[in-house]
Amino acid sequence: MSDFFTFEDYGRLLGLVHNSLIAAALLGVIGGLVGVFVQMRDMQFAVHGIAELSFAGAAAALLLGVNVALGSVLGSLLAGALIGALGIRARDRNSVIGVLMPFGLGLGVLFLSLYEGRAANKFGLLTGQVVSVAGQQLGWLISLSIVVVVGLAVIWRPLTFLSADPEVAVARGLPAGLLSIVFTVLLALAVSLAVQVVGALLVLSLLVTPAAAAFRVTASPLLAPVLSVVFAVTSAVGGILVALGTSVPISPFVTTISFLIYLVCRVSSRRRMRRGWGSRDDDEPAEQSTVDNSSHMALP
């Protein structure tokens, strides 16, 4: 793979982290796409809850000496299944998550305190360890990413319909329960990928912030996911590139870039709202009403 990418030209340092850059880019794509539905379905809190259980799973795997990625995926899926089974409705969901999250975090802390290996491994699960993405781990990331992207492509339209317009979508025969479980599973996979790269505490910066920023500046169903992915990839890859020049871990840079993008989008949307669609509401119906009233005047 290193023949294909020529990071050597950028210096030895870049060559060392090229696995991480691929991982970050993948994560940006996944996070940006999944984030669109996280935003539409108001599942930001679920992202956080799943991340904590994913962290517990990874910590358990670390303690048991098995594959950490596997542990994180299993923890995520368990959280996703619990959230899916116990709280399909938004109101139930949030309390279920609020109950699960501290429990998962507590378990994770317990496992970590029992673990006697390198401290860097422990810290990494919470705040990210992207610089140490190994070849084998990259294989995992790539295959899981493919699963998530293909899964989303299959359910994209029905899930959009269901998220935006649930009554009509159900009347049209869409299986609301099944689609919401499938999405929760895809979300869980995406979260577990993110936990392995940016750590459990900062998952939101790649699964929530980029889509939230994109939604500020566009309502196009094509442009929103595209921008969301661009923002997430920029934050993840940009975070690594900046961090290379310093001795600070990557996560503060990832979160800062993603936050700055959000700020810019917010400011520009405010300006757009002031002169754009927001001021239009009063104009159009007036013209219509003249037509209707006149046609009704003729009635007895």
């Binding site: 339209r157 009554e167 566009t218 169903p221 119906p285």
Partner: protein, 265 residues
């Protein structure tokens, strides 16, 4: 149709012909929405049979266009008016693929039929209630249904939009022979369009033309309490029902006092 010991209606024999405009009236909780849910296949009948466009009711019947009770759409939804309408065509298709030119043309046509072309590209969350309702009707009609179900489509619209929306629906059924089932609290905005009325109350119903059903005798019999129906300048005013199911204009007064009679315009 009953829930436990409670019967919403029984012995209902209704044949809706293409292009017919049926208004479903009745007090809150009488079973108007349940009637729609039964037609949509979301609620099985407790007894009897029903056939919708030649098949038994089931979810996902493309012959039905559905306009749900108005609920403001999430302002952050990344969909424009035209995208919501397009979901009426392909919202239930798996595997993401580009929309065909023909489908996009149908969306444009549906939007212009409801007079929503001006805001076709506006985010749905930023549309006013009346605008959203037009877009919803476009969405329901874009699949060219043979039956249009509307659940309180005029709720929370001002008089002007009530008329615009109902005359839009009326035009549609005349031009395309689409049968219309219109669940409503307010008969007056659609009085001159309605062919038949299904009035549900207290576990019983009346079915017939507005002139047959909306009379003092018929409603007194249905409610088992004295009800007066007046016609005031082409508008029907029902006085004395336990729940004021038919009201003049706006100003919802869901009072439960049988003798409150504040209905004048």
């Amino acid at each position: 149709m009953s829930f436990g010991a409670r019967t919403l209606w029984s012995g209902l024999d209704l044949d809706l012909v293409p292009g017919e405009f049926l208004a479903v009236l009745g007090p809150n909780g009488a079973g108007k929405s349940t009637f729609l849910r039964a037609v949509l296949g979301e609620q099985p009948l407790s007894a009897g049979t029903m056939s919708v466009a030649g098949r038994s009711p089931g979810r996902g019947n493309r012959a039905i266009g559905y306009v749900p009770q108005q609920k403001t759409l999430n302002a952050a939804t990344p969909l424009r008016a035209r995208d919501l309408v397009a979901l009426g065509i392909d919202g239930d298709r798996y595997w993401l693929r580009p929309r065909s030119r023909a489908d996009r043309a149908r969306v444009d046509e549906a939007l212009s039929a409801v007079g929503a072309t001006a805001y076709a590209d506006a985010p749905i969350g930023l549309l006013s209630g009346g605008e959203q309702q037009r877009v919803r009707i476009a969405q329901a009609l874009v699949g060219d249904p043979s039956l249009l179900l509307c659940d309180e489509p005029l709720l929370s619209l001002d008089l002007r939009h009530q008329r615009a929306v109902s005359s839009m629906i009326d035009r549609r059924r005349r031009e395309h022979d689409t049968a219309v089932v219109f669940v409503t609290h307010e008969i007056n905005p659609v009085l001159d369009m309605v062919d038949r009325v299904l009035y549900v109350a207290g576990g019983r119903h009346r079915l017939g033309t507005p002139a047959e059903v909306l009379t003092s005798e018929s409603l007194t019999d249905l409610y088992r309490t004295p009800v007066d129906v007046f016609t005031v300048r082409g508008r029907i005013v029902v006085v004395g029902t336990p729940d004021h199911p038919v009201e003049a204009g706006r100003g919802h007064d869901h009072s439960h006092h049988p003798d409150v009679t504040v209905e004048h315009r």
